[in-house]
């Protein structure tokens, strides 16, 4: 008796769950389907959901039309570059705060967090002017610097919460056994720190990949990543829906897959450890 009740309950939740999940996912699914249609079918009424002539043409032409590969490479360079640079600066900082905390450590962490609260638009004028005067406008270097600085507080914080979970006694034991600082890092700390660093890396690549304020406003063409490339489709002459869809799928697919793998870290990173 009790068993049938639970099975029924499970079936009901299965139906509700899938219905809501598919509804929320629908815009992405619809973009995916549209990307295989011809332009005519893309705007057809009534719309065809599955029974149309599937074509790969949009994917084949997206590179010619909007120089996809160049923008994709920009996205890769900017998101990987800013994240790698950020890690390089943040790892020592987070490590020192986690293992040799002083009475100011908390204040420093809170202050770093507060710089993240600064709205980007508040410094739009100075950053634009600095970029104009130093020739950083529309360069990948400029975006790498800005995105690195923008995400640095998150990187330090995430690493800090991970490093703090590494028991300090292990380091002391290694030191007692005569391990030098270098050996301590390579053999003791690194293996325990790598998962945390990897999650931080993942989340920050996602954030940098999808950043759409500075990447849109500080580029015109040369350094424009995928966010800015897609923004160009907003002009009336760019209204080719199946091509827009193909370009969109190519822009979001890699990061969507990465995101799916990092959902746990996402919570931790974006709440600064407040929810685990």
């Amino acid at each position: 008796m009790a068993r049938t009740v639970t099975t029924n309950r499970k079936l009901v939740f299965t139906v509700i769950g899938w219905a809501i999940g598919l509804t929320l996912f629908f815009p992405i699914l619809w973009t995916f389907l549209t990307s295989f249609k011809t332009e005519g079918e893309a705007i057809a009424t009534p719309p065809s959901f599955l029974f149309f002539d599937w074509t790969l043409e949009n994917y084949l032409t997206v590179n010619d039309r909007s120089d996809y590969f160049r923008h994709a490479i920009n996205s890769v360079v900017i998101s990987l570059g800013s994240t790698a640079l950020g890690l390089l600066v943040a790892i020592p900082a987070a490590w020192s705060m986690a293992f040799t905390p002083t009475k100011r450590t908390k204040d420093i962490l809170m202050w770093m967090l507060s710089t993240k609260m600064l709205p980007a638009v508040g410094v739009l004028v100075p950053i634009t002017l600095i970029f104009r005067d130093t020739g950083l406008m529309d360069t990948r270097t400029g975006l790498v610097i800005v995105l690195m600085l923008m995400n640095l507080p998150i990187i330090v914080w995430m690493l800090f919460t991970y490093f703090k979970e590494i028991p300090g006694e292990i380091l002391e034991a290694a030191r007692m056994d005569g391990a030098t600082l270098g050996k301590e890092i390579i053999y003791v700390l690194a293996p325990m720190a790598v998962p945390g660093i990897a999650s931080t890396l993942l989340l920050n690549i996602i954030l940098a990949w999808n950043e759409a304020f500075w990447t849109v406003l500080l580029t015109t063409n040369n350094a424009a990543p995928l966010t800015a490339m897609i923004a160009q489709y907003s002009s009336p002459e760019g209204l080719f829906w199946s091509k827009l869809s193909a370009a969109s799928m190519l822009a979001i697919a890699p990061i969507l897959v990465m995101g799916w793998f990092s959902q746990k870290q996402l919570v931790r990173g974006l709440t600064f450890g407040a929810v685990k």
Binding site: P27, Y233, L244
Partner: protein, 290 residues
């Protein structure tokens, strides 16, 4: 001696981050503050002069400022309402055992990873378009007049697009908090004859209070800066109907080249964000001690 050594090397390791963030914060902030007191048009270099609070007066007396302020509050408030209520509901649903739970979870969180320009254009064209969009087709199928979403209800449309992207964030955080709920407590309440709603009200909700606060504060920080979704859909229009503060400042700076007024607006935006930030930082700080 050894401790002294470690301490100084610890300081050395911390220094680059601190200096970088200090520059990132102080230099542009000081410049914004300085520019906000100047008559400063980017098209007329060399004509800068100190004008005191005139930019602020100009900015605040502009009806567009008040419109954009109200729009900002509506956009942030509306999105918060949808994502927090919807997110709680979704989290509770995803917490129940059912077939294919893992896959549904992936489907639900997917929108968060879609870049703002893509989500905005997909919604604008393929869903909300008044003639060929899917919503128009659905409306006609039911014999209703299709809505021209972005022209008739621009702010609501932007709110929907932004909510779609942030609903997964709220869901994921609330779900994480939900999973740390003590099941024994719930079972004890059930045995005492408590109904679903009273369990939700007296046990689940108080347990979620902290996560919900975090969601509200963090989303507010990000939502005050919504830009790309407006940039590629309505351009703030029609008129100022979907212009938020971020977009208004962008227009002042990069379309009207009025660096002075834009800087004054920037200072106002920073003050607004800080009001929220103080609460958030205090909360996270408490957590750090615990």
């Amino acid at each position: 001696m050894a401790t002294l050594h470690t301490r100084s090397s610890a300081r050395l390791m911390l220094t680059p981050s601190v200096i970088l963030l200090l520059c990132w914060m102080i230099v542009p902030l000081a410049m914004t503050l300085y520019f906000s007191f100047l008559r400063y048009n980017l098209l007329m270099p060399g004509t800068e002069e100190w004008i005191g609070f005139l930019n602020y007066q100009f900015f605040v007396e502009d009806p567009a400022f008040w419109a954009s302020l109200i729009n900002t509050l509506l956009l942030v408030g509306g999105t918060l309402l949808i994502t927090v209520v919807g997110g709680t509901f979704l989290a509770i649903l995803l917490d129940q055992p059912f077939f294919g739970q893992g896959i549904v979870r992936l489907l639900v969180i997917a929108p968060f990873f879609v870049m703002p320009t893509v989500s905005a254009l997909v919604w604008k064209n393929m869903l909300m378009h008044p003639v060929n969009g899917l919503f128009a087709w659905v409306a006609r199928a039911f014999g209703a007049q299709p809505v021209d979403w972005l022209a008739e209800v621009p702010l609501l449309s932007v709110t929907i697009i932004v909510s779609w992207a942030w609903l997964p964030f709220a869901t994921l955080i609330i779900l994480t908090a939900l999973q740390s709920l003590d099941q024994d407590q719930k079972e004890a309440a059930e045995m005492d004859g408590a109904g679903i709603f009273s369990i939700f009200w007296h046990i689940t909700l108080p347990h979620l209070a902290r996560a919900l606060t975090v969601v509200v504060l963090i989303e507010t920080i990000f939502l005050l800066s919504v830009f790309a979704e407006i940039f590629v859909t309505t351009n703030g229009g029609p008129g100022t109907e979907s212009t938020n503060l971020t977009y208004l400042i962008y227009m002042q700076a990069l379309l009207f080249y009025d660096a002075g007024a834009a800087s004054a607006g920037g200072v106002i935006a920073i003050i607004l964000a800080n009001i929220v930030a103080i609460f958030l930082i205090r909360m996270i700080g408490k957590n750090l001690e615990a």
